[in-house]
């Protein structure tokens, strides 16, 4: 087994030097990590699992990578090797990203971006890598399905002043402020995305399409009491029937309040609040504004 191990590692190195990532991973996968024939310590096992997962991820192969990351997850909690642990975290985040579990991926990317140490073992953690992790966190959050948890993560990222230096910041700001993203902005954002983040979904929308249309629908619901689907299509830069399809799904999933009048081809965005609650809100806003005026007067010594 020892000889087989050595040969496999050599061959894997050769494949890696040829950038034949999956072949290198397959070569290493053949190593029997659970063999009873010889003593293999957990560190070795963990190292191999993470190494194989990283190789598969070079080819965006989340399925095979996940198999080895799952194996590694039983060992990583006892591992003291920070480099390995960090590599495990990055693999895990990337697998979630590839599997379009964007919000979970965003949280892990964000966690990675907050590493304080700049040297772990003999691995230097450079600012670029952290910035990449932060940008990946922002991208995944924007692509995640709209909802309260995504709003919380958006708020965290928007308030993290490191984000203001990212190229993607203008998009983050508009998404956080629930503003409609116009086609040119979406196209700019699209250029930053990886292939799987623009992949076609079974319902014939791309991941990006769905995320952007959902976001823009929610933004429109903040601006309109009702709007015709033709106008909505023009506003969002998509065909009206696409807007209707996604809007109806969001209403069914209770991720947006409203109703669709198919005869008139109009969507009614119901205000979450009943009229009386709106009255309360308006009174609250009025009193707040009155206080602001009184504060301003106090500030000016009046």
């Amino acid at each position: 087994e020892e000889q087989v191990l050595v040969i496999r590692e050599k061959l894997a190195d050769l494949y890696e030097s040829e950038q034949l990532w999956s072949k290198a991973a397959q070569m290493l996968s053949g190593i029997d990590l659970d063999s009873g024939m010889r003593v293999i310590d957990d560190k070795f096992r963990l190292t191999k699992c993470v190494q194989i997962a990283r190789l598969y991820l070079e080819d965006d192969d989340a399925v095979n990578a996940e198999a080895f990351i799952n194996k590694a997850s039983f060992m990583v909690s006892n591992s003291q090797h920070e480099v390995l642990n960090l590599q495990y975290k990055v693999c895990y985040a990337r697998i979630l990203d590839l599997k379009r579990k964007f919000l979970e991926a965003a949280l892990r990317y964000y966690d990675i971006s907050q590493i304080e140490k700049r040297q772990i073992g003999d691995e230097v953690i450079d600012e670029d890598a952290l910035e990449q992790a932060l940008a990946a966190a922002v991208t995944c959050t924007i692509l995640a399905a709209a909802g309260p948890q995504r709003s919380r993560v958006l708020a965290t990222l928007y308030k993290d002043e490191r984000c203001s230096r990212l190229k993607i910041y203008p998009i983050l700001q508009k998404v956080y402020l629930e503003r409609i993203l116009r086609k040119p902005e979406i196209d700019t954002f699209s250029e930053e995305l990886k292939a799987h983040q623009k992949a076609l979904l079974p319902d014939n929308f791309t991941v990006l399409d769905r995320a952007m249309i959902e976001h823009n629908l929610l933004s429109a619901s903040k601006l309109y009491t009702n709007i015709s689907f033709d106008e909505l299509g023009t506003l969002l830069g998509i065909e009206p029937h696409k807007a209707e399809k996604i809007a109806s799904r969001m209403i069914c999933e209770d991720r947006m309040r409203g109703s669709i009048d198919q005869v008139e081809a109009v969507i009614h965005f119901e205000d979450d609040n009943e009229e009386l609650q709106q009255w309360d809100q308006q009174i609250f806003g009025l009193c707040q504004a009155l206080n602001d005026v009184l504060d301003s007067m106090a500030k000016k010594g009046l």
Binding site: T225, N226, E231, G285
Partner: protein, 221 residues
Amino acid sequence: MDIEQKQEEIIQQFVNEASNVKASSLVTVIAQATSHPSLFAFSEILALPNVTQLQGTEHSIYLDLLRMFAHGTWSEYKRNAGDLPQLKPNQVLKLKQLTVLTLAEANKVLPYDVLMQELDVINVRELEDFLINECMYVGIVRGKLDQLRRCFQVQFAAGRDLRPGQLGSMIHTLSNWLSTSDNLLITIQDKIKWADTMSELDKKHKKEAEERMEEVKKTLS
């Protein structure tokens, strides 16, 4: 009120600039102020002595322009365009934004037809894009667009510079508000007193009823 906070610094900057320049340079300052994307208030600049001294000089049309931005609307500008300087696109944009504020002063529900006419806009999409991008997203108004009823329901609109004579009606409105609030508080206090009295009476009545019941029980036993 955050629009006021945002523009406070900008106002101060232009007041400082305008205070220290001669008439010919004032023209530039006025052009910059009426073009600045985040400035929607001009009375502080108008109040400066060397600005009011433009009256009757060769530059007085810039004083008129400043007054137009302080109190006027796009329609009013068009009616007097011959006597005023030519506007650059971002000045036109600003005057149209200010027009929405003036319209919002009079009504909380602005019909699309009125808005389209006042803003020289030819279709609903263009009007709504203007209201969304240049008004709501800039923070000078908040509200809801109602396409079916073709109107814009205003929930908040930033205040424009006061026109002469407006102060009186504001004081009148504030006095009304104050007396209405006072009356409301008095009414609420009366209601509370009434409720207390009623609950006392109820307690008394309940006590009497219980006493009577005890008596009857004693009699029976």
